[in-house]
């Protein structure tokens, strides 16, 4: 479905991605792991068109998308839920959701409003706050809203950037539950996470990044038992792992 090949992305003169290649197949949850500064978010931003790769190609459903504008890429079926939620704080929850459908130009206003209603049904935690402004929501609610807004684009592929960041353990579980739920409903997901244990539990396959390169690629179950991954991202003791699970 998505084929990323040898992409190199720069911030000015600093090279953030040094030839990233990865693939996401239809129906999968693929996770991208790595420490801070490894280039995970940069990879997602390059796929969604917020950044332009200097070299390399990105193919989506057999079509080159690496030089398209972000809004066109959304229309092709890739929605990006950015790191730090980035909801629109001064707009109501409902308006935030309706903005998610910006790329679907053929939809009438009534249809968009209707779909926003349906989305509120799917996210009961948001429903009581439909007419509240975005900034009044808690961190967990904002994350739900960011994901729901992404889904309003009816994407084939959803890019999630650190959805569990800064959330209480019980909310982290809820977010991952939602991710699995979205996937079983037929949306492919590329997930960037710091919480490697949870991410590998929900994912089919995983890539591990270090300083702009992919250093490891395997099935999620294998990565969970990989010594290198355990040491770097999971913590070695059972106690530490239990803490992550909550």
């Amino acid at each position: 479905m998505l084929k990323v090949k040898d992409i190199e992305t720069y911030y000015g003169s600093i090279q953030a991605l040094k030839g990233i290649s990865l693939e996401v197949n239809e129906g999968e949850v693929v996770t991208l792991l790595g420490s801070n500064g490894a280039g995970k978010s940069t990879t997602l931003k390059t796929i969604s068109g917020l950044l332009r790769p200097v070299r390399g190609t990105i193919e989506f459903m057999g079509e080159r998308i690496d030089h398209l504008k972000p809004e066109v890429i959304v229309q092709k079926g890739i929605a990006h839920v950015p790191e730090g939620r980035k909801i629109f704080p001064g707009l109501t929850v409902r308006d935030n959701l309706m903005l998610g459908a910006s790329g679907r130009v053929k939809l009438s206003k009534a249809q968009i409003a209707e779909e926003a209603e349906q989305m509120l049904e799917l996210f009961p935690a948001l429903k009581p706050f439909a007419d509240k402004l975005g900034w009044t929501l808690s961190g967990g609610q904002q994350q739900m809203l960011a994901i729901a807004r992404g889904l309003m684009a009816r994407p084939k592929l959803l890019l999630l950037d650190e959805p569990s960041l800064g959330l209480a353990p019980v909310l982290v579980q809820e977010v991952f539950h939602i991710i699995r739920d979205i996937n079983t409903r037929g949306t492919t997901i590329l997930l960037v996470e710091q919480n490697a244990f949870m991410a590998l539990k929900v994912a089919h396959r995983g890539y591990v990044m270090e300083t702009g390169k992919i250093v490891l690629h395997d099935l999620a179950t294998n990565l969970l038992n990989n010594e290198q991954v355990k040491r770097a991202y999971l913590g070695t003791t059972k106690a530490a792992r239990r803490q992550v699970v909550g």
């Binding site: 969604s48 707009l91 910006s102 790329g103 991952f176």
Partner: protein
């Protein structure tokens, strides 16, 4: 409740010329209506889209000159001058929208100030085209269905009609797809882009609307005053429009109207201060900015909420005891 309020305000606007009957007050009312239209235009760029434009007086001037030149030199009807003014001004608005693709904040503000200065210099120095510093005199009064709108009282109702119509349009736009896109750009450009909003396109649309409103107001101004000169369309005037918007309540149509009316009449109410006027005015604006960042409209909304006693809602935490939660199904954790 809301409709009763709007009805009362409209009723007041209609009887106001019968309460204050001098021609001078009617003249101020005309100005208030025209300024309100310009400020409504600025609300599209600054209020909704968050693009700081300080060229609003220039668009207003482009509209005024377009309409004046067509009616005086080419003896066309006001009803051709007005749409032409709107169109020419909107075209320049789109042009000024292009720098906003790459510039933001004070860099964009500088660009728009530069544009405003250029427009004024052209009006002043292109004597063959614009009449230079002497301006254009003898601009005819408009006629509507055979009636001449030839005094300030009549023109007030005429301008009020435009103001009401354009206010309704502004409200409709604000709650449309475009209005949401504008606000998304203001809130967070990167997130708006990731959500699929075509940022550049909507910035151009915002600038177009902004200049369109100013152009219409410019035409109305030219035909109500009968005489225009470059001095009117200065940078100072752009700042006054900005103050109207911010003081009234940036981002809100009602707030913008409130600000425009307030700033138009304030000099009259403060006249007793004589030469201290500017100092008091400046201090007032300063205090408002510090203590009422949401403007007069924000204050009124706050008072309204206090009066009807709607308690400030405390948002309950996600997990209330006794409520079944999805998360209890738990992900992955085998026990």
């Amino acid at each position: 409740m809301k409709f009763i309020l709007i009805f009362l305000i409209l009723a007041f606007a209609i009887v106001a010329p019968l309460i204050w009957t001098t021609d001078y007050w009617h003249h101020l009312m005309v100005l208030a209506a025209i300024y309100a239209i310009v400020a409504l235009g600025l609300n599209f760029t600054l209020g909704l889209t968050g693009q700081l434009s300080l060229a609003q007086a220039a668009f207003w001037g482009i509209g005024a000159y377009t309409s004046a030149l067509l009616t005086v030199r080419h003896e066309l009807s006001f009803w051709i001058g007005l749409p032409a003014a709107a169109a020419v001004s909107a075209l320049f608005g789109i042009l000024l929208g292009f720098p906003s693709f790459k510039l933001s904040g004070h860099y964009l503000a500088m660009t728009t100030i530069g544009f405003g200065i250029i427009v004024r210099l052209v009006l002043q120095n292109e004597t063959d085209l614009t009449g230079g510093a002497d301006g254009i005199a003898g601009i005819p009064a408009p006629t509507l269905l055979g009636f001449d709108i030839d005094d300030n009282r009549k023109f007030y109702y005429f301008a009020l009609g435009f103001l009401i119509l354009l206010s309704i349009v502004a409200l409709r736009v604000q709650h449309s797809r475009a209005g949401r896109a504008f606000q998304a750009i203001r809130e967070n450009e990167m997130a708006a882009s990731a959500t699929g909003v075509n940022i550049n396109r909507y910035k151009l649309i915002a600038f177009m609307f902004s200049a369109l409103y100013a152009g219409i107001a410019g035409s109305l101004y030219a035909h109500s005053a009968g005489y225009i000169s470059p001095d009117t369309f200065s940078f100072d005037q752009s700042v006054i429009f900005l103050v109207m918007l911010v003081l009234g309540g940036s981002g809100s149509v009602y707030g913008t109207l409130l600000g425009a009316i307030l700033i138009t009449f304030l000099p009259e109410w403060l006249r007793f201060l004589k030469s201290y006027y500017m100092a008091v005015y400046g201090a007032g604006v300063l205090l408002m900015m510090i203590f009422l960042p949401t403007g007069m409209w924000g204050l009124l909304e706050m008072i309204h909420e206090r009066i009807i006693g709607k308690p400030v809602e405390v948002i309950p935490p996600l997990d209330r005891p006794g409520e079944p939660r999805k998360a209890e199904l738990s992900v992955g954790a085998k026990k």
